[in-house]
Each structure stands twice: as structure tokens, then as C-alpha cells.
Symmetry: C2
């Protein structure tokens, strides 16, 4: 198996996605929310690009979820906290979500053989899924407005580390994500808290979100994109 890492959507043109499993990664917080929600019994999550598309699905009975600039969209039912997604009343519901970076990365992955969702919360489940598959894998970091970020790269490195006996790391992006993870693995939450994104989010009082998003293997699910819906 070949394993590569794309650090931001602004570099995705350098990679072929057609015959690969693409793992979309937006640790703070879109893909952590997707894993927490689908792992807690939400029926499906439909990522959409705009607030208006989300509202259109809201009229069809979907729970509307999402943020802009880190804050909940005012008229939506829930924001972009994994705790929102784990509320018992959401079990069995369909959710439509729009976020700054994660939904954009999913949109850019649509030509892949398979699109799945990665976060620290489902690391082992994801790694098992990849080992069973014969597809080459691209770990696709959503970044922040096209820019590189620490926490997504760190998770990509965690996957490279878990698969180092089974996969060939294709490029320096993969190799450096792996080295970065190895140097930070002893205290993921500490390093994620030093990231730019954590600093940006700190004004929204989401310290607990960040700590939760650094937790390992809370859910044994691999959300997968089927049509326009993520399900497990």
C-alpha cells in the first residue's frame, strides 16, 4: 500500500485521487464532529458548501449544523462542537453541515475511489479499514483557509506511524508528518493547544472541544461518503 499526505487543499492539484482512498482530516473540528456524531447514532451527515444549502435541507427536516469563522451559524440547531453531535436527541436524525475547511476538502475529494473521514477519535478503526483495503491512500488535511496546520498534519502522521510496517510513505510530506507525530505523540493535546487554530478558537471558549478532539479511539466507526451522505 502506498501512503501519501496532502497538507492543504491548495496543494491537492499535485496528487492523483482517482484510484485512491482519500481520508479527509479536519481535526478542529469538522471530522472529529462527524466521527462523534455518526459514532453516537446520527443516521447520516450531509456536508454542504453554503449556509443556504444547509437551510434548504433544514426545510426537509435535517438538523442544521455548522460554523463560520469558528462560531455557530446563528439560525442553525447546532454548531461545530463534538459535544453538540453527541446529544441523545440527535440519534437517528439526518444532519446537514457546513464548515470553513472540512466540507471544502470533502468536495475536492469526490473523484476518489473512496472518501472516508479521519480523526483521532477513530484512528484505530480507520487504520484497520485501510489494512483490509487494497487501495493506495491519500491523507488529505483540510488545513485552515488553504493554509497548512499542525493538528491535521499530526493526525496524518499518526496514521503513517500506525501503518509504517504495511505501507510505503510516498513523499517527504508523509515522512515529515510521521516524524512530527513521533516527536509529539507523548502529549497530543499539549501540541494541538500550541497550534494557530487552537489560539484562534480560544476566544470561543472551546478548550474542552480541543481536548476531546485529541482523544484516541472513542469510536469504532469509519464514516464513508456515499453519494452526498456520510454514513457508517
Amino acid at each position: 500500500m502506498k501512503l501519501d499526505v496532502c497538507y492543504t487543499p491548495d496543494l491537492i492539484h499535485q496528487f492523483e485521487v482517482e484510484n485512491k482512498t482519500v481520508v479527509v482530516i479536519d481535526i478542529l473540528r469538522a471530522t472529529s464532529c462527524m466521527v462523534a456524531g455518526l459514532g453516537s447514532g446520527i443516521q447520516s451527515i450531509t456536508p454542504v458548501a453554503t449556509i443556504e444549502e444547509c437551510e434548504a435541507l433544514g426545510k426537509q427536516g435535517y438538523i442544521m449544523a455548522g460554523e463560520r469563522g469558528g462560531e455557530k451559524v446563528e439560525q442553525f440547531h447546532i454548531g461545530n462542537s463534538p459535544f453538540d453531535y453527541m446529544k441523545p436527541e440527535l440519534k437517528g436524525k439526518k444532519v446537514a453541515t457546513t464548515t470553513t475547511n472540512g466540507t471544502h476538502a470533502i468536495e475536492l475529494s469526490k473523484n476518489a475511489k473512496e472518501v472516508v473521514i479521519g480523526s483521532f477519535l477513530n484512528l484505530n478503526a480507520l487504520v484497520s479499514h485501510m489494512m483490509k483495503s487494497e487501495n493506495d491512500v491519500l491523507l488529505f488535511c483540510a488545513g485552515w483557509k488553504g493554509r497548512y496546520n499542525l493538528e491535521d498534519t499530526l493526525f496524518a502522521g499518526a496514521v503513517c506511524n500506525a501503518l509504517k510496517q504495511n505501507a510505503e510513505l510516498e513523499s517527504d510530506s508523509a515522512l515529515c508528518a510521521f516524524f512530527l507525530y513521533q516527536s509529539m505523540a507523548t502529549d497530543l493535546a499539549y501540541y494541538i493547544n500550541r497550534s494557530n487554530h487552537a489560539a484562534r478558537l480560544s476566544k470561543f471558549n472551546v478548550k474542552e472541544d480541543i481536548e476531546y478532539c485529541a482523544r484516541l479511539n472513542e469510536f469504532n466507526v469509519v464514516p464513508k461518503l456515499i453519494g452526498s451522505e456520510l454514513t457508517v
Copy 2:
């Protein structure tokens, strides 16, 4: 002083260069050659985009230097090895050079307040220069055909490490370059030899070049772009 890192030319649109010192970094091997050559008495180095431009300057008496795909351009005087650039007979000469990545990054930096050249060979001289200046700094990794690479990022991290008491690391790119350097600082040559670029170059028998490019502070010079020429 603010310090940021751009990992590849494909991400340069995310950064403002206008009021900054831009440090162009192409460790294997363009900027290492520039430092070795200008540190050994070459009068000036003119980076140009094409083989034809290089040949036009050759007709005016310039030494023609450069590579395509890692190999010396056949009709040129010298290739892209730092040892070529240190030959005694080049002292006092003007050199025109074209390389795959380094000259492209210099071209993209031309709107900066100042463009200087960085490599492990002149790390301390570069850091001293930056500490004397009041400019914010962008460390601009030339990468490989637009892609991220290990060795340029590692050097950017070495600069971040040297300036950590004096500069604010502006983004996760800078922070992660710093962490990567800290985890690899004990054996730079070993890690650079694990890079994709080292693997690509290995077929050209340039092991000594790679080891030389990982040496620290061989030259106390900071090549600077004045018009179209690099001088010290």
C-alpha cells in the same frame, strides 16, 4: 520580528512578501551552491529561468552553470554541485545559473523588500543578518516542482530554532518546521539522506554533495539579490 515559513512555491500566494526579507532556501543544491560559490570568491551569480538565457549570458563571458532534473546541462561549464562552485579558477568570475526549483523561487520573491540566500553552509551569518535587520522574515522553501520537501523545511526550522528568543513564529508552518528541526538536529545528514530528493539524486552519484550541503557554517556570507545579481 515576525518569522514565517512558506513550504513551497505553490503556497506563496498565501504570504505577503512586500515588506519582508525573503530567505530563499533550496538546500539540494541551488542555494548551497550560491553560498559556496560566493563564499569562495565568485564575483556574482545571476539566476535565470531558462537554458537559453543562461547561454545568452555565456556569450557575454559568464560561466554557465545549472541542471535540469538533477543533471548538469551538457553544454554548460559547471553543473549544480557546491564543489563545482568552489573551483579556484572561478574566483572573480560572473556566473549565470539555472536550476529546477531555486531560480523559480527567487523569481517569485522579487517584490520583497530584500531577497537573501539561505543554506546550512551560512546559517549563522544569515541569523546574524536577520537579527541586525528590523524586517519581518519569510523563509521560502523552493521545494521540488512545487512539492513540499524535507531538507528545505529542516533548514527553515533551524532558522526558527536559532531565532526562537528573538522572533514570533507566525504560523503552524513555522512552528512545525521548528519542531521537525528539533527532532532531527542531532543528525541532519542522516535525515536529509532519507528525503525523496536525496533518493532522486542518488542515481547521479552525489552522496558527497548531500553530505556537504548538510554542513554548518562553512561560509560567513549572506548572498543578496541586487537587481538580477546575487552578490556578497
